[in-house]
Amino acid sequence: MASIDSGIRDKGAARDKGAARAPAPAAPKAVHAIVGARTHFRRFTAFQRWVHFFIMVSFSALVLTGMPLKYSDKAWAQTWMGFIGGVDNAGMIHRFSALIMVACVIAMLGFFLKILVQTRGRFWGPGSMVPNRQDYRDLKAMVSWFIGRSPRPKLQLDRYAYYEKGEFWAASGGVTIMCVTGAILWYPEVAARYLPGIVINFALVNHSGGALLAMGFVVVFWHFFHAHLRPESFPMDKAMYAGGLPLEEYAHERPAEYERLVTQGKLDEVLVAPVSERHMKIQNVVWWIITGAALFLWAVFCIFVVWVTYNWIISF
């Protein structure tokens, strides 16, 4: 069975591997960060981590510049808008961030194209983002544990768990809607050349509703929780910046993928050396700041989203 994993071997990893196997004595600096035994499992490639980073930054900027417009009649929105330099400034930042986001989407589309080619069109299967029956069984086992009907399940997770697949497809659908409606709102005159005027109304409603949906889902009700507050990843899942995590830890967390790679004899391909301690320290400082901000925002937005949702639903 072809899997996604054959598609994520990027050049960076190949370089890491080569250098780790045969450290070149002539270039000690390049070796510094990657010296050591390949004890770690490469959860995310450099490409994936950079895409995540840029989506994270642009998403935050989009939310911070867009939400005050959505809630323009509220005092906090007016204060915040004044702080970031008014509607025109916010609009510029918003559009610039949108371009970064679009670039990430295009990069990921390219990535999927690569997978399609490498798997000869069979993009589904274990290790892929395509939901399957096992995901449904996993979800059922978890819910059964939540409501106290059975003990904590030991999920035999493959590369992506059901909560990651769900989020991936929700985000894919969401980003598509936001890109299309955002483009219409950016160039309404151009849109009106081909489409009836009410499409601009549709774009407004969907951009605004989609924004709240995305923000709530990312910040409060899903992503932050699974990346930071889930018992297994508290206070943060380091895989998304360090790239790799200790093999035994990974085998424990994603046993199905580990087993699969061992039986296929492909484990060697995804082993990397951990980043150096000095490198890790720097990363840790940066990422603790981000995590602190994330947890703070989580608390703030929890209150905010609950309040907004409550107000909205009682308005009908």
Partner: protein, 287 residues
């Protein structure tokens, strides 16, 4: 010969300049001053009031600070309150004065604006049909605290001024990018008057109206260079919360409400239960 020609040319130029200046000098008027202080002797009193012919209590107090801040602050009271004398005002003097003055008090100086107003929907209601609810000059501009209509202060107040009667329209306007930008301090964005005009405001059904089907594209085109009929068919005043405004927009709004309600509830429960079980079973304690 050349001297005479020069004199002639000078005379001609002078005539031309005078002719050109004539319309300007026609609207120049002397502002009578000096009597205001005498009026304020009584009218600055905080509790000055009267009961009018309809039995309605009316304050006669002038907010002196507001008056001094107004664009007419240098004018004498009687410039608008024509026929009033500095003594107790008799019934003959005051009766029906307001109804008359709310139109003529302004038109003496602001004749061209008044002419536009005269041709407008509001003007027709007030002067043609004798409506007491439809606005005359003071209802939009105020009376003693009139601010410069070209000022940012006045511009920012326009949605509220129109919204005083057209409340629903103000709400739907504030739900558009124009309205939101104005609320967030960018008053150069379109407010009511930029689309509907001012003084000569006409209903959409009137071909002369700025928002009539004949003119609306040009009106949008003032800011949106490439506006076309489809662009101007954008529903500016759409109330998202009711199907009677636009069925499709309402359906989309409902769709989002349901999506958000369901997904946030399910997602929230998943996270909350996960968190609760994690705490209960000590999964957050690291050995």
């Amino acid at each position: 010969m050349s001297t005479r020609r020069a004199i002639l040319a000078t005379l001609a130029a002078a005539c031309f300049l005078l002719a050109a200046a004539a319309p300007v000098s026609a609207v120049t008027f002397t502002i009578p001053t000096g009597k205001t202080d005498r009026c304020l002797e009584c009218h600055a009193e905080p509790d000055l009031g009267t009961v009018d012919v309809n039995g309605v209590e009316k304050s006669l107090t002038i907010d002196v600070d507001e008056w001094h801040g107004s664009i007419h602050a240098r004018m004498d009271c009687t410039a608008c309150h024509a026929g009033f004398e500095a003594r107790d005002h008799t019934a003959e003097e005051t009766e029906g004065w307001y109804e008359q003055a709310k139109l003529t008090a302004c038109s003496d100086c602001h004749a061209s604006e008044f002419k536009m107003y005269d041709q407008s929907f509001h003007g027709d209601l007030v002067m043609g049909e004798g409506s007491e609810e439809a606005p005359a000059c003071g209802d939009c501009h105020g009376s003693h605290g009139i601010v410069d209509p070209a000022s940012t202060e006045f511009r920012e107040s326009i949605p509220d001024v129109c919204g005083h009667c057209h409340g629903e329209k103000e709400e739907t306007y504030l739900d558009t990018y124009h309205g939101k930008s104005v609320l967030l301090g960018e008053s150069s964005r379109a407010v009511c008057i930029d689309c509907h005009g001012y003084h000569k405001i006409l209903p959409k059904s009137d071909p002369e109206s700025t928002v009539s089907s004949q003119n609306v594209v040009a009106t949008c085109g003032k800011c949106h260079e490439n506006a076309n009929t489809r662009f101007s068919s954008f529903l500016v005043h759409v109330d998202r919360s009711t199907p009677s405004s636009s069925l499709w927009v309402w359906l989309m709004e409902i769709n989002h409400a349901v999506l958000i309600g369901v997904l946030f509830t399910l997602g929230g429960l998943h996270c909350l239960m996960y968190f609760y079980r994690g705490l209960k079973e000590g999964l957050y304690r690291r050995g």
